[in-house]
Symmetry: C2
């Protein structure tokens, strides 16, 4: 079977039905994300990251794939809940809520806000609604305001060693493109310039070819747990954002550096014994703080498949294709649960399910369907291109 078909089938016949069937809270609004192996709800708390991400997923599919009423209805169920329940009086987004939407955990960082902005923007487009468009813009501007002190009063660091974290420029590079209907072109290009510069010139290290998770405010490395931390999945995910931006700008150099970096990170982070990409590593090979460092996570492998598919589309490189096949074989033989649907989220180093959940506090309806969609569309182009070429060759002979 062609790769595009595998991803399309899995998205439409396995992953989306799993979430449509199990996650929608028709009573209180919003979504249940804590779903066990069979899709049964085992916890009813609502985590704002995942509420926003699921609104985004169903709105994006409605906008880009097919205008299914059922998808819009699911998006509406979460968008209204987010708008009505998830914001404090200053427009900051809480981290978590009870099932009914009472705030549980304060807005102690800005990632809830990032996913809410993405959600509102796609949903506004799907629903054709100015209130949500405005809310997306307002939320985005609030993120920019908070970006130099994202944790606000909850910041526990004294400032003695002041960090820049990779997540923010990485997310911004994706977020502004999600907000294309909401922001003006100048704002978008300015933020893209900023993000590309931070990601490729500050966090990506020339000598090692690796991306560090934290650097000091002045951009230098620091020899401490935080300063030595590598998060291979983060780096690889950011590289497909960069490939997309490179394609948009026709920036061949950006595409080349990004694809080289995907390969470099994989060479450094592939488990030589059991296969799969490690979750965390220490740049100097010291023990990590993260006890979960050797685990194999669903999103790391899905983002890697997306990055490699896009890298292959852009370069046709055989090295990249070999890596694609290696990661494909690992991911598709370890993560899916054909019996009950969807993908396991957390495997131990040996590749066995560590937790039986299909959704939880951090895994919702986002990485699996987004990657399925991205890989499907990328392989569709690759396969079309290949068959066009075959056609051309045939015509030539």
């Amino acid at each position: 079977m062609e790769y595009s078909k595998i991803y399309k089938d899995t998205l439409l016949n396995d992953v989306l039905p799993f979430w449509e069937r199990n996650s929608v809270d028709t009573v209180q609004g919003g979504y249940f994300t804590c779903l066990d192996r069979n899709g049964k709800v085992y916890d009813t708390d609502k985590f704002v990251w995942l509420q926003g991400r699921q609104v985004w997923t169903f709105s994006m599919l409605y906008n880009h794939l097919e205008q299914r009423d059922s998808w819009l209805k699911i998006a509406k169920c979460g968008a209204d809940f987010l708008k009505d329940k998830a914001m404090d009086s200053k427009g900051n987004f809480y981290f978590s809520l009870t099932q009914e939407g009472k705030p549980l955990v304060q807005p102690y960082n800005i990632f809830s806000d990032c996913f809410a902005a993405m959600a509102f923007s796609q949903y506004a487009k799907a629903y054709g609604n100015d209130e949500f468009r405005l809310l997306a813009k307002k939320t985005y501007l609030n993120i920019l305001n908070r970006k130099d002190n994202p944790k606000g009063i909850y910041e526990k660091s004294t400032g003695e060693r002041s960090w820049k974290n990779f997540a923010l420029p990485m997310i911004l590079s994706n977020l502004v493109l999600e907000l294309e209907d909401v922001l003006n072109q100048e704002e978008i290009e300015k933020t893209l310039d900023f993000s590309i510069d931070e990601v490729m010139n500050v966090f990506l290290q020339n000598d090692s070819g690796l991306i560090y998770e934290n650097v000091l405010q002045n951009g230098t490395l620091h020899d401490s747990f935080e300063g030595r931390l590598l998060n291979p999945g983060h780096g690889i995910e950011a590289m497909w954002f960069m490939i997309d931006i490179g394609a948009r700008r026709n920036d061949k150099k950006l595409i080349r550096t990004a694809t080289d970096t995907v390969v470099r990170i994989l060479e450094h982070s592939w488990d030589p014994i059991y296969g799969g990409v490690f979750y965390f590593m220490d740049a100097k090979g010291h023990p990590t703080q993260q006890l979960e460092w050797d685990q194999k996570l669903w999103w790391v492998h899905l983002e890697t498949l997306v990055a490699l598919a896009k890298a292959y589309e852009q370069t046709g490189s055989e090295i990249i294709w070999a890596w694609y096949q290696k990661v494909h074989d690992y991911a598709w033989s370890h993560f899916p649960d054909p019996e009950n649907g969807e993908w396991y989220g957390y495997l131990n180093r040996q590749g066995e399910p560590l937790l039986s959940l299909k959704g939880g506090k951090w895994k919702g309806c986002f990485h699996v369907p987004r990657a399925m969609y991205q890989c499907w569309k990328t392989f569709e182009r690759i396969e079309k291109n290949r068959s066009d070429k075959t056609g051309t060759l045939k015509n030539c002979t």
Copy 2:
């Protein structure tokens, strides 16, 4: 070899020399705790929990085992550093410092303070110093002041679901006995009453016989990630604090419930496949938030050995003895590193070292030497008692 000898030998000839040789920062004061497999320093940041705990260990050994000048000197190196560098202007203790003692992470909870108070009290006794005695008392009073809102301004919970955490009453039950020279008898007995009541009547559940890590402020259980969380090592450690208090008060009922609870927790938390005690569990068997749930940690197994040795001393129960041997065999065959000394801290579920460190951000010179000392002394009494009985029997025949 008698068990008492194994523990004595390991403490005096392996564990203490490892820390004496590798951890003392003779230049800046305080201790390095990030030590690799061989004892080499791989990170120089100083974590206040572990600074306090190491001062305590060397002071306690000086006070109870042998007045070695070298031990007092090591204790002084940390006690002065703690006093001079680790407190903010209000007497709260930072979480971490640079090697030179500049504050890195704010006093966002009160456990640094608990270990500092223990350290100052034992050190004041060893060094015969009133300034440290006063500091111990002041720190203790500050802990009591902060105990209803231990995270202060860093509390991220909205208060919608307000928790009591098991760690505080558990630590207090041990801490007041550490401060016996500093506090008056009434204060000690009052705090012991409070701690026993919280631990045995609030956190220990009658129906399951298990100890929950979090209950609501009104003492009831709550069906959420936090509310379902079990931390078997915590529960077992608290039970040996209760056995000690029971012995002190000649409270047979407390001793009996505590020893029963050790067995109950072990029955529930022993890994039936690979052996060892799980790190975290969900009371309803749902997936935990903690990705490290299935790992086998040094402190969990050491605290279990202490609890079982004390439980056996008090009860002579064969069930407890069978558990002691099972845990002894697991722990002594998996954690020690005979080649380089000390114990590994973190094993994966299968029992292989997950991190090669001997010390880190959370593992310092504390659980291993304390457990070695406690087991040594407990087995010395058990063995003496047994040989007295044998002697008596001999005399009788």
